[in-house]
Point group: C2
Chain length 444, copies 2
Amino acid sequence: MSLTNASPADAAQAAKSASHVLQTLSAAARNDALTAIHDGLAAAKDEILAANARDLELARQAAADGKLSQSLVSRLDLGKKGKWEDMLKGILDVRDLPDPVGRVTLRTRLDDGLDLERVTCPIGVLLIIFEARPEVIANIASLAVKSGNAAILKGGKESTESFVAISTVISRALETSQVPNGAIQLVTTRDVIPQLLALDRHIDLVIPRGSNELVRFIKDNTKIPVLGHADGLCSIFLEPSADSQQAADVIVDAKTSYPAACNALETLLVHEAALSTILPPVASALAAKGVELRCDPRSKAALQQALPELKVVDAQDSDYDTEFLALTLAAKTVESLEEAVLHINTHGSHHTDAIVTADKEHAEQFMSAVDSAGVYWNASTRFADGMRYGFGTEVGISTNKIHSRGPVGLEGLMIYKYKIRGNGHVTAVYGEGEGRKRFKHEPL
Amino acid sequence: MSLTNASPADAAQAAKSASHVLQTLSAAARNDALTAIHDGLAAAKDEILAANARDLELARQAAADGKLSQSLVSRLDLGKKGKWEDMLKGILDVRDLPDPVGRVTLRTRLDDGLDLERVTCPIGVLLIIFEARPEVIANIASLAVKSGNAAILKGGKESTESFVAISTVISRALETSQVPNGAIQLVTTRDVIPQLLALDRHIDLVIPRGSNELVRFIKDNTKIPVLGHADGLCSIFLEPSADSQQAADVIVDAKTSYPAACNALETLLVHEAALSTILPPVASALAAKGVELRCDPRSKAALQQALPELKVVDAQDSDYDTEFLALTLAAKTVESLEEAVLHINTHGSHHTDAIVTADKEHAEQFMSAVDSAGVYWNASTRFADGMRYGFGTEVGISTNKIHSRGPVGLEGLMIYKYKIRGNGHVTAVYGEGEGRKRFKHEPL
């Protein structure tokens, strides 16, 4: 790992060359590098947390001056309960996952002595751009090494001290391993991002981790595939058959357990037959957690009748296209499952959407028809997360329609190649006509 | 299926809406539509071939006037031996493939009563732009219907008559099926392409089938993911341990069986120890097929000594970056396997590359280190083909580093979604701390 002052083109070229070595390393060699990273970080806890404290100090001042958001300060804090331990555990979790490289996913005998094999392999070079979450460096370096990909890392400037401290430790650790120098490139100045985004010959995938604005900027400024999501506008559709308590639990969790998360609930669609039965207890539970409801006229009327003391706000059309990332929830009445699905497919962000219902058939219909990465039945949208899915850690959550969708773990960093082992085989002898050989196409 | 005069935005919007219905159809409903397409085309053979003959007549005139290439005329000819039968057989082959929709590829018990499932589903809306291969319409329509994707089709103007004839038949056939109107949109004017390429909200994947120039134009003019390849610069590395006859067979097949194909051989890398032993018989076999060799000084010297009567041309540097698509082959001497790999990873197009050797270890090293969609041992690069791989038919050959690589069949048109079925489960109760629940993460 090198803190590079090389030009972006040279850095990307070096990463590409390193990726060609990295992809030939054994699982043991890659795992040994991860152990070294883990042990190095564990031993350097004090110096890293001290560096993080310096970042935090500056950030708190900036927040006090109104120049930085409190949520950014919170994300920056590596000393926050469980964060350091989670980071270290994540490295070992990744190390101990099955090797994603070299898995044979298809094997076909094309003809005698001519076998086709599809084998997983690394994508090549990743460009990871993230904001002020210092632990992401360790996550991403682990995932890159485990998956045999080279990576160029660019972190947010508010975490510079933490970032340099962690990367210095990772750098020392990797020097003791077979992972080639140049496989992990660090970039510390922001002005090189546009140059990096132009290097589509050497960089194979961009992974932005951060604000919607960051992701949108990157998507708009590169031809390299981008894995991630700009928006997380999640909806829940509440059916009249739902259990009131389950509905309240799921909706309160989805809205309030971490309102700034991309998998938090933003729109509640209420079947008209649930307006006077299940919506009121749900609304009470939300209000008890400080959630402001923005209602369409029908849901407002139903709530005013059932709960005269509850304050609700009139929804604007734009509220149904808004990712609030706060204790605000747009509510809308729909007349059918079909209308709910249409609303979600039109206004949602194809991230994660749920139905709360006792009707299995409706649930399956909803999950089949909603065009989102995650479609849930009687569960909180906040389950959309790589750790919760059991992926060990996650690279991000993708709303792309190709390659990887939803929480992305190691598999999202892999592609495959086809290998054919023959014996001097040629194509010209095969065909449909008389005297031509036929392929056997036997699955092996 | 509709021959539309709607605006590109309306057409794409309609395709998107139709895709939401199409993705919920059963396999039986989609297969029935394919049977109807097959039967309709079989019954309309005469009228379609008559339309194709009119296209051919115009194309032959244009070729005689030097306005069109002979290879385009050849690709246009639906009456060419076996082409019509292949087209019809391709539809049934696709129909009879296992249903790609709804395959469960991961199932994990997150906790009691909380199951995660990853299920394959269609990508959504495909935009397929192709040149003058009329049979591609039937191929692509079949693949789209089978995979549950909507498609917007744009064919080359030289095949307009064939195209309209085939699409009219497909349109009639689909009207008898459950596949919704709008699922297959036809576009007959070229000027709408730039507008379609801008509709990244409604179109999920662009598949260009045609010349390098077409693919490059599309890649340079859209933010929608593009599946395909601009270049096919395939190489073979010849080792001294290779069997001479095998080497000659493989290299002659790779270069001459269809020189205009993307999987044809363009660069021959010769290990220095093979220059005077195996290169001469290989060069003789190539010369016998009319191949012009462009040699570096060392391979030229070796050939002049072994075969004084053989004519070879001096290679220019640019020859090693050229996709000749003709009976021309660049030859270059390398000193090691590593040098061959480096040359291929630097000058190749990551399409398909082969090694000819008797050394299994070298072969495995080559296949591991070469960063291409296809890496072969003792087999012709021309095997890189969806039919030959046993995929039934192919959407194209991808040199992308994400999603799909190499010949792409049905699987390349699929993505997945995550389904969670719960029982009112919430996330807030899980975690690492005391009193928090742990996930079970049991594979099911």
